[in-house]
């Protein structure tokens, strides 16, 4: 037990150092723009299908489940704004981040771990390339940029799902639904959710890169590395979300 706690603190410290190294090196040349573009495309391409379908289903499910309660209170007209706020503020970002932790995080950590084990990272260094810049900075930056994009996409698809239910069950037109959503949704909902998405993206990628980069020897270590990366980054998503809610709560009170 004591060993575990110790290990937790060591890992936390090392991840912090790893992040510090990111900020130290990200601003200085050489910049790997091509690789950054490629990674951004890969991250988007890899997860957009899953993020879209999950978002759509969440939109439908959420609407179907809250609807009866609201109907009972005669408050169906609140439906779009309530679901809209739930999706934009909480469900969109968290679901997207969790999917990316599973899909992108495991991909990055497994890739880097196997590159490490098979000496591809050393080979890069011999070829006059800084592997941290080429592999880590590009992936972390790409994930930090792409996660908010995916979140906005998930929000939209989710709202469309919810609007469809409203149309079929309550005869609310798409136009009316969305005008209601946007009537109640303001920047105070949108901006914190986008900001926290940046942090989610950064956290997922930095943890996955750290795990991959420091993978222990052996090919069976690759699977374990990916697994740990997913677990840690998913936990981190919840922790960050909690912090984000606390902080934005302070702003609401003002």
């Amino acid at each position: 037990m004591l060993r575990r706690i110790k290990k937790f603190f060591i890992t936390t410290g090392e991840i912090t150092q790893f992040s510090a190294r990111y900020f130290r090196e990200v601003l200085f040349p050489p910049y790997e723009f091509q690789e950054l573009l490629k990674q951004s495309f890969l991250i988007g391409n890899k997860s957009i299908g899953l993020v879209g379908s999950t978002g759509f289903i969440m939109g439908i499910v959420l609407t179907l489940q809250t609807r009866p309660t609201l109907v009972e209170f005669g408050a169906e007209s609140w439906m779009p704004s309530m679901v809209g706020i739930a999706i934009v503020r909480e469900i969109g970002p968290v679901i997207t981040a969790l999917i990316c932790a599973g899909k992108v995080g495991s991909g990055i950590s497994a890739e880097l771990a196997s590159m490490k084990v098979t000496e591809q990272i050393d080979a890069m260094e011999v070829s006059g390339t800084n592997p941290f810049k080429y592999l880590v900075i590009t992936r972390v930056t790409a994930a930090t940029i792409m996660l908010p994009v995916l979140v906005v996409f998930a929000d939209l698809v989710s709202l469309i799902g919810s609007a469809m239910v409203e149309y079929l069950k309550g005869g609310v037109t798409l136009q009316l639904y969305f005008s209601k959503v946007f009537e109640y949704l303001n920047y105070g909902d949108l901006i914190p959710s986008i900001v926290k998405s940046f942090f989610f993206g950064f956290a997922i990628a930095i943890v996955s890169c750290y795990k991959g980069f420091n993978s222990s020897k052996g090919t069976e270590g690759v699977g374990r590395t990916a697994n740990e990366a997913v677990v840690i980054s998913s936990m981190l998503v919840f922790v960050l979300d909690f912090i984000a809610v606390l902080i934005s709560d302070i702003f609401y009170d003002l």
């Binding site: 098979t118 050393d122 080979a123 070829s127 006059g128």
Partner: protein, 252 residues
Amino acid sequence: MMIQENNFKKPVIEIKDLHKSFGNNHVLRGFDFTLMDGENVALLGKSGSGKSVLIKCIIGLIKIDSGQMRVLGQSMSDMTQKKLNSIRRDVGFLFQGSALYDSMSVRENLEFPMRRHHEKNDDSKTLLVRVEEALDSVGLLHTLDLMPAELSGGMKKRVAIARTLILRPKIILYDEPTGGLDPITGREISHLINKVQEQYKTSALIITHDLACAKITTNRIVILSEGKNYIEGSYGVLEQSSDPVVQEFFKK
């Protein structure tokens, strides 16, 4: 014109009293070695004796604890990243497990070191010419657009050799070029190493367990034992040696 060749060869790698340990594991304990220009030397040693660690020290992938090391006349201690890169450009390194980039095709694998070391004429046409030339010299021109996963172990080794050659290095460090291959393919690779040496006038340090390879390729053999250069000599001399450590390597 008569007095060149053997007489005035200069050292390309000089190592004096090299020490390297990982925690309590003292891998290299005072290793001395010199590689002359144009020379092929084989390094023999038991598994785990520190052969890979030694050549990784030479290329600066592993930091040495103490000792002196000069590569191509440059001292490797306190070296700037830029200088280190320019040395690495002139020193080819064949990794023990080939270390081809899984996510890139054979062609991209070969282009990578050229793009990265900022070759002067790096428009894609001249790059392709050189990639094809290097692949041709290992007899694998037809694999240009394959992925590493589609190659056999021996083919990977040869592609990796081509990738090592593509920058026309002055020194090549081979880590078990014939390891894990059948004797026939192993012999082919040994002859390939000789061909490369003649064609590009390189010097080479070849780590191997394979005596046939050592016999074909090298002028001199160094045996690494207990972290030191235990003995050196030509294949013929060492083969006749009565020293028990040397005998271990040569007994059938």
